[in-house]
């Protein structure tokens, strides 16, 4: 009886403690949400503040962004297109590679796998200047293609797919071969559908990485109407603050779709974002 009481006391303390921690961690996002209803001139002057005048809250920032911020919506479109391209292409190619490394026995297989691990360890930032030179040389600067290209065969995804495909039932492949199916048919019709959960996890990882990608698009995108959301929003971060309405409401509209996706597909977000490690 006594120990139970002590334990429930501890449980109470720990749970309240975690509620506080969660609140502190979520505070910036809650602050952003509330501030997006404040007049942008106040926001620029006061920053995000505890002393909010609730009678001043209004929808002006959102009205403005939906009616007058054409450039914001072109950034939004660019981000959507680039993320969609990245997801489709990188899933298609990375899953092929990972699958082959897992199910086929061929010369050089181990070498390729070691190369995948090696590329995982080379920071992109070190290759960015020569890659940028290459894009300039190929006259690809300021195109979707330039942004997407370095992400198409993502080593993280190859590694993840390879680990996942190792657990696929290869007996199915033999059965299909006897039925006269080609290796490609086996892959696209039988094995790829079995890789569904891993595809979902990687779609989220690649999509989020591309949605939030900054440094590489900053290098290769030049004109305002080609900017992605992070690049475009960053240009509004000036001390003069003449565009804080777009900046603040635009940030909210950038985060909200992701948070909604997260609520519905939490399991895949978790698998995707922690795919760098844990177990082998």
């Amino acid at each position: 009886m006594d120990t139970n009481k002590k334990n429930s006391g501890l449980t109470w303390v720990a749970t309240v403690g975690f509620a506080l921690i969660s609140l502190i961690i979520l505070f910036p996002i809650i602050g952003l949400l509330i501030s997006s209803f404040r007049p942008s001139s106040d926001l620029m002057r006061d920053g995000i503040t505890f002393s909010i005048d609730f009678s001043q809250l209004n929808m002006d920032n959102y009205m403005y962004i939906f009616q007058q911020a054409a450039s914001y919506w072109s950034w939004y479109g660019n981000s959507l297109i680039i993320s969609a391209l990245t997801i489709v292409l990188s899933l298609f190619f990375s899953s092929m590679v990972g699958y082959a490394l897992a199910v086929y026995d061929f010369k050089g297989r181990n070498l390729f796998f070691v190369l995948v691990l090696l590329i995982l360890m080379i920071p992109f930032e070190i290759l960015m200047l020569p890659l940028y030179q290459m894009m300039v040389g190929a006259q690809l600067v300021d195109s979707y293609f330039a942004v997407v290209l370095p992400l198409i065969v993502a080593p993280v995804a190859v590694f993840f797919f390879r680990q996942y495909a190792t657990g696929l039932p290869t007996a199915l492949m033999d059965a299909a071969r006897i039925d006269g199916s080609t290796e490609y048919g086996i892959y696209f019709k039988i094995m790829l559908p079995l890789m569904g959960p891993s595809l979902a996890a990687m779609a989220i990882l690649q999509g989020l990485a591309s949605w939030n990608n900054f440094l590489w698009p900053l290098l290769v995108l030049r004109s305002n109407d080609m900017f992605t959301l992070p690049i475009g929003l960053a240009t509004l971060l000036t001390p003069y603050g003449n565009n804080y309405d777009i900046l603040i409401a635009g940030s909210v509209l950038t985060i909200i779709p992701i948070v909604i996706l997260f609520i519905f597909f939490q399991r895949y977000f978790v698998a995707g974002l922690t795919s760098g490690g844990v177990k082998g």
Binding site: L43, D46, V97, F106, L115, P130, V153, F214, T254
Partner: protein, 318 residues
């Protein structure tokens, strides 16, 4: 992680692939000798074009002076210029940032994960999700929020707290210590949830039998933590700290979002920021590449030390 799905519908899809007599070329394309290489070819191409070639070209560029239409070899002159006060400032900023983020992003998530994994806390899934949500934001949006929370105005959240504690308001973006604080807190805020998940995954792998055996032996809660939990967390701790170190040396956005490319007295300058500033900003690609090669060597040495210290080949990633 998720288990492979079930293949109950496969026989149906098999019937659709009717048997055809393939010609020679198609048979070649479908032979088990060729197929794996076709599958792997995107990786081979991307490795050659997007990794190997730029890596070699980057090293060559670091020995060149690159002006539009005029490229010449200048020997080691770029490297002689690398070791200047600005580079040392960038390197020391980056190193301090790495040390602080490694400490915070290893210990805090470990502690939170141990608590979340215990029977003490209720509503675990909600807390786990809330802690994870910052990872969904981009550094730019997150940084913008932190800029507004840590604005110079007396009315900003940070200065309201500071004033409440009886101190003067702080010009957060203009002091060396607070500049570092801003970058570290922004990175920590965004990554804590992901690292908590890494630790939680490992904690859930520890078999209950170990704890039951310890209970039978009359071990206290602290002893169980000290002799069972902590030792089992060693591999994941090494992994988390390794990726935090590598990410720390790659840091750029956390600085860019507060000061763009130039901060007062370079208080926010990082090594990658310096590459960007010189290579893109000043259009001095040769010099920028030389800084890149030096950074590669630094990361390489750290990886080797890590490899020796842990005795295993550890993977690092983004």
């Amino acid at each position: 992680m998720s288990s492979p799905g079930q293949g109950s519908h496969t026989s149906a899809s098999l019937e659709k692939t009717a048997y055809k007599e393939p010609n020679k070329f198609l048979r070649f394309l479908n032979s088990k000798k060729v197929v794996p290489y076709i599958f792997v070819s995107p990786f081979i191409l991307s490795f050659l074009i997007l990794t190997l070639y730029p890596a070699i070209h980057g090293i060559i560029m670091s020995f060149q002076s690159i002006l539009p239409g005029q490229v010449e070899f200048i020997g080691l002159r770029n490297y002689e210029r690398v070791f200047n006060p600005n580079f040392y400032k960038a390197l020391s900023n980056t190193t301090i940032y790495v040390i602080l983020t490694v400490i915070i992003l290893t210990l805090v998530p470990m502690l939170l994960a141990i608590l979340l994994n215990s029977k003490l806390v209720k509503f675990k899934t909600i807390f786990r999700a809330s802690i994870f949500i910052p990872a969904l934001t981009s550094t730019i949006v997150g940084g913008m929020i932190f800029r507004l929370m840590f604005s110079e105005a007396d009315s900003s959240v940070a200065n309201q707290i500071v004033n409440f504690l009886g101190m003067e308001s702080i010009d957060w973006r203009y002091n060396a210590w607070s500049a570092m604080f801003l970058m570290v807190i922004l990175a920590s805020w965004r990554w804590i949830g992901v690292n908590v998940l890494y630790f939680l995954a490992q904690l859930q792998n520890i078999s209950d039998e170990l704890y039951e055996a310890a209970d039978i032996d009359g071990a206290s809660a602290f002893q169980k933590l000290r002799y069972i939990t902590i030792p089992h967390l060693k591999p994941i701790t090494i992994f988390v700290s390794t990726i935090t170190i590598i990410n720390g040396f790659r840091m750029f956005e956390e600085s860019f979002v507060f000061w763009e490319t130039s901060s007062p007295g370079n208080i926010g300058l990082t090594v990658v920021g310096y590459i960007y500033q010189q290579g893109i900003g000043q259009n001095d690609m040769g010099f920028g590449s030389a800084i890149g090669v030096v950074l590669m060597l630094i990361i390489f040495v750290i990886s080797i030390i890590n490899l020796i210290a842990t005795g295993t080949f550890k993977r690092g990633d983004e």
